[in-house]
Symmetry: C2
Subunit: 159 residues, 2 copies
DNA sequence: CAAACAGTTTAGCCTTGGCTAACAATATTG
DNA sequence: CAATATTGTTAGCCAAGGCTAAACTGTTTG
């Protein structure tokens, strides 16, 4: 049986909105998610490093490890990758700093994160839950949706 | 410098909502996301298999590979895992079927997915974008937020 | 200023989720 | 019904992101 199965209309309930999307569109959805997964950990690190620099003045591997609940070895390995990607600069046994590209990424991630977090709170989600959800959702929200979330939050605040 | 750095208040802008969360809470956020990542691919497969069974009457590895834009070898390997997890039953060269546990998971995933998708549309997001975002977001939305999304969608529809 | 402690790195292991290539089974059709 | 096309499986590769244990560097302090 193929995707052009002529019996589909017989076996499936004919509710257009709930039908399977066309193969190409469906494949696109999954591919987009897989793609997001490749960058999201990188973005989380860069975002956290930016936050630590802003709030603490320095970003140490041990802090990152504690905040991410991950071993220091894992952080060390990841920092090597961030170095190769030219997102951070680091001297052994010293605090990290962001390159220009890293700063740009940190700002963008931080902005996305905040929009999603504020949106969830405006929706009425409890703070602790909103923080957890925002952390997971932020990498999967398109620019279009992000803009709508921001508008929604602003409207809520003007009431 | 540690997380109990007494100078934090000096270097950080004192906007409570934008301060770094306490380490334990922060760590919890990341751990929750990592955890979601472990199950989400499994859920995507099970959900898709359920959809194929519902709409087509059968779920073939080739269909899954096409819809996920992934090689047949990858699907084959994944099916072995789903078998081990007792979520599907399969005979070589035959259609897949869901076990009871698999059906339960498929229904839950499908329901979450639909709530998120309908919510995004109710918010005003274009259909194609909503589908992509929903696919990525569904695994990161808590029950609390999900309930709020559902209520929001219903209210929109009654206007 | 040497010893002890805290922080960092390296080595080496594991699992997951991709891939291609080669082979096996089933289905279709001339 | 044999040849061909489609579908499924297996083997073996790779990168990412975890881990522990051990070695090394830097800092603090008796």
């Amino acid at each position: 049986m193929t995707d052009s199965n002529p019996n589909a209309a017989l076996t499936a309930p004919s509710i257009p909105g709930d039908a399977l999307p066309p193969v190409e569109q469906h494949a696109q959805q999954y591919a987009t998610v897989r793609n997001a997964h490749e960058t999201e950990l990188i973005e989380d690190y860069v975002e956290l490093i930016g936050d630590l620099l802003a709030h603490r003045g320095e970003a140490r591997a041990a802090d990152i490890a504690n905040r991410m609940a991950v071993s220091q070895a894992t952080v060390s390995k990841m920092i090597r990758r961030l170095n190769e990607l030219e997102l951070v600069t680091s001297k052994p046994y010293r605090s990290l700093f962001l390159t220009e590209a890293g700063q740009k990424m940190a700002e963008t991630s931080r902005a996305r994160h905040d929009i999603v977090l504020h949106f969830l709170r405006a929706l009425g989600v409890k703070d602790a839950t909103a923080r957890i959800d925002a952390e997971g959702m932020e990498h999967h929200v398109s620019d279009e949706t992000l803009a709508i979330m921001q508008r929604f939050t602003e409207q809520q605040q003007n009431n």
